[in-house]
Symmetry: C2
């Protein structure tokens, strides 16, 4: 049996009771260690709670050597641990399809991930559109497909959850070219960088998708005792110190109810400014709605 | 301290290790019992694991008598248990705002909910648009605002998660009018009803948002050992027997990758038919994309 077990957001004890039971009966335990990190727990912490060795699975192992992970999994129990939920942003579909083709039974134990726990900011999950990812820009590589996605969301009033890049066990271009297995130190995008990169693309594309005054919520260390939410405009977020990882960001749409706004204001330093920013957003939404109705009447 | 604790999807053991620890130290434990149900666990099962009494909190208690729940929570620990994640489809913002105003500290322990565990069907969560709810129709009440939301999602190629109505502790109109506290037996919408209601609204609105051949995935008893997924067209789903609750439904958009399709086919009875339905969907998406580009060029 292949157990796909979600570890939740932050500490060793965020695993479910059922998940812990399952992992304790497994012969081999792998931890997917390249799409996210468990913020407040080391490999050793996990090994102590589970009472067994935890094998770190990097991208190479999961994507190129999945048969190593799946070896004998038709006879013994193997655990594949994933931070958050096993079907979070990355679904590991290739590993599962491979397991299926080998006739290996699969059991999933779900857990919280940023995709649902983002509701902690108080915005209804119903009003979120598609989630986007933001990768670290370089001088000559600024992939901006997220901009079109945010545009689609905002045109219909929806919020956008922006997931921020993490780079774990990455090689420099030179080391890769020379085949040297030397890895760069891990990097986690912070809120400041994310806000600057977002504004950078608005400056380049100029389609008025969002701007310096667009209301946002920064979400740092979600689900940990050090969790911090900040309600602020995009330009304010470009100037905060968001601290330790992990971070993500919500760009608000115009579907914000009074009670949600009240909830968000608790996280705003300049409450009046944030309130005004949200009101402008809502007002713009109403104008667009009237415009759309007029357009349709003309048709 | 007010602990908001997510119970996850199905069994008593879906609570996290941290959540169980917290609930065991609480003086009073409430279970929110009107927006969802824990499929494979009774109140007694919970009480046995927690070693304490669990008080069922209906809508009236949470919305009108929240001060009863919050009594003394500045001095003792009170748990408010929510099936799924505490910030799932319903965020209980009013309860939290009230707790805040009373100066009560709040701690959230997250868990899986259908909003992220829906990824189990193999579709990337990135390609889901806004989630919608479908309520039970009556002869003269067919609320159809979900139709506009699904339209918005499908116009930009996104999948839609459709949450299906549950009715717990509801009064008949007559009993309510006469002030008799007699409640109807609980009802949970199944896949067949959902599919029929969706097609009913398409028949009435005729905006060609979806149709009998639109590919969907039905998700029954998610996260339980009896979990069952069915990939089928909407009209096929109107004729299945989806069995015990809970159920939800995904209406596919046109952003489906080859590997996702391969994953979905495992859940299809008529694989060829489903594959064709998805291919038609993708093809229609491409046509619309070309159309949009032409329109923009004309502008």
């Amino acid at each position: 049996m292949l157990y796909l077990i979600g570890l939740g957001l932050s500490s060793v004890e965020d695993i479910t009771v059922a998940g812990l039971k399952a992992v304790k009966q497994c012969t081999r335990v792998y931890l997917e260690a390249y799409t996210s990190i468990l913020m407040a727990a080391s490999k050793e912490d996990l090994e102590e709670l589970y009472g067994c060795e935890v094998i770190l699975a990097d991208r190479e192992l999961v994507e190129s050597f999945s048969d190593t992970i799946l070896e004998d999994a038709d006879k013994v129990d193997v655990a594949f641990l994933v931070v958050g939920d096993p079907f979070g942003a990355t679904t590991h579909t290739d590993l599962l399809l491979r397991a299926r083709s080998l006739g290996i039974e699969i059991k999933t134990i779900h857990n919280a991930s940023v995709m649902n726990a983002v509701g902690a900011c108080g915005l209804q999950l119903y009003n979120f559109g598609q989630t986007v990812s933001l990768v670290f820009f370089t001088d000559n590589w600024k992939p901006d497909s997220f901009y079109d996605r945010i545009k689609e969301n905002r045109q219909i009033g929806l919020h956008t959850l922006v997931l921020l890049d993490i780079k774990v066990k990455e090689q420099s271009f030179e080391n890769m070219a020379r085949g040297r297995k030397i890895y760069e130190p891990p990097r986690y995008m912070n809120i400041e960088t994310a806000a600057l990169q977002l504004l950078d693309i608005e400056d380049l594309r100029k389609e008025d998708v969002y701007g310096v005054d667009t209301p946002c919520v920064s979400i740092s260390r979600l689900g940990s005792p050090q969790q911090k939410l900040v309600s602020a405009t995009l330009s304010e977020l470009a100037n905060i110190d968001s601290g330790e990882p992990l971070h993500s960001l919500v760009i608000l749409g115009n579907r914000v109810h009074e009670m949600e706004l009240e909830f968000l204001l608790e996280f705003a330093e300049d409450k009046e400014k944030f309130k005004r920013a949200v009101e402008v957003e809502i007002e713009a939404g109403k104008t667009k709605l009237i415009q759309t109705v007029e357009d349709e009447e003309e048709d």
